[in-house]
């Protein structure tokens, strides 16, 4: 795992530490679960890439098959969850056997997620967006807006 000396990693579980990169002065707090099931990439290419000055609260979990990028100065409260894959649900075949493909998740700079937010596959959250606590994000979110709810809808714009 690529961790600079001035960032903090609490107690948690990682199945593939070599695929994780943490930036300068960022922190992941206790009880995190980072599971990466996918192609092992070469050196200097990290599927789970967390930028500088990022805060990730306790109990977060990352369930990644293709990739997630979190840019600088994001704030992620406790209990957030990132899943970048799903299942097909056509009739006539078990859903367990219909494997969906993964799409990477991208969080731009200065994004604030409230606690227990779930971010689903292929979501792009623009710069300076705010997500209310407990919401489920299944669509991409433009910059400088406040979204919330299950599924997340526009609440207002930041002025």
């Amino acid at each position: 795992m690529n961790v600079p000396s001035n960032s903090y990693v609490g107690k948690g579980r990682i199945n593939n530490p070599s695929q994780v990169k943490l930036g300068q002065s960022s922190s992941i707090h206790d009880k995190f679960i980072i599971s990466y099931v996918g192609k092992l990439l070469g050196r200097r290419a990290y599927p789970i890439n967390i930028g500088n000055g990022v805060f990730i609260g306790p109990n977060s979990s990352f369930d990644i098959t293709s990739g997630i990028t979190i840019h600088d100065n994001c704030m992620i409260a406790q209990g957030c969850k990132f899943i970048d894959h799903d299942h097909g649900m056509a009739l006539g075949k078990l859903m367990k056997l219909q494997l969906g493909f993964g799409l990477p998740i991208i969080l731009e700079k200065d994004v604030w997620l409230g606690c227990n937010v779930v971010v689903l596959k292929g979501v792009f959250i623009g710069e300076g967006a705010v997500i209310a606590a407990g919401s489920v994000v299944n669509k991409s979110i433009p910059p400088y807006e406040i979204w919330g709810g299950v599924p997340a809808r526009l609440i207002k714009k930041r002025i």
């Binding site: 070599s18 679960i33 779930v118």
Partner: protein, 186 residues
């Protein structure tokens, strides 16, 4: 790229410790089928827990059994079931999960509630208990809450983050807080 040696060694130690933990659970009466992979689960009364063939139960799953001396209180997983990280089963009656179900992480099954008449405080009133049944091939998204008395039909899909308090028919997609009908599977 090959994973490094320390990681491989760590993996071996982990799998050994998991095997011994599962063996201890089996000695205490847990029933498991063939080829099941079981992570670090917590279960105070493993004799009330049945896990079928080739299941995958991940770490931090909590099976909480409140009435260990009653015959009706049990948790039963069918075969080929997947249960993600940090799921929670609060069981006062029966929680039965059919074959080929997919349950994503942080899902809570709670078959217990309280009566809440105005006469006294809520903690002195009796609990209400109704069983939860999942039929075959059900897919539940992450961080869902399944409440008491719910039966989810064959092939149903529950969207992430929803709270299910009603029974759901076969081959439908439901979601929201509380869960509402979204569409039928085609």
């Amino acid at each position: 790229m090959r994973p490094n040696r320390i990681a491989l060694l760590n993996n071996k130690v982990r799998s050994l410790s998991l095997k011994s933990a599962v063996l201890f659970l089996k000695l205490r009466g847990m029933q498991t089928g063939k080829d099941s992979s079981i992570g670090k689960i917590t279960c105070d009364w493993p004799n009330k827990l049945t896990i079928g063939d080739s299941c995958e139960v991940q770490d931090d799953v909590d099976f909480r059994i409140w009435q260990p001396y009653s015959d009706n209180c049990l948790i039963k997983l069918g075969s080929n079931v997947f249960i993600g990280h940090a799921c929670e089963f609060v069981c006062n009656s029966r929680i039965i999960i059919g074959n080929n179900c997919l349950i994503a992480s942080k899902t809570t099954f709670n078959d217990t509630g309280h009566e809440f008449s105005l006469k006294s405080t809520i903690n002195k009133q009796p609990v209400t208990v109704k069983e939860i049944i999942l039929e075959e091939d059900v897919w539940i998204g992450t961080s869902c809450v399944i409440l008491q008395g719910v039966t989810i039909g064959k092939g149903a899909v529950i969207a992430a983050g929803s709270m299910v308090n009603k029974s759901i028919p076969c081959y439908e997609v439901w979601g929201g807080v509380p869960a509402r009908f979204i569409k039928k599977r085609v």
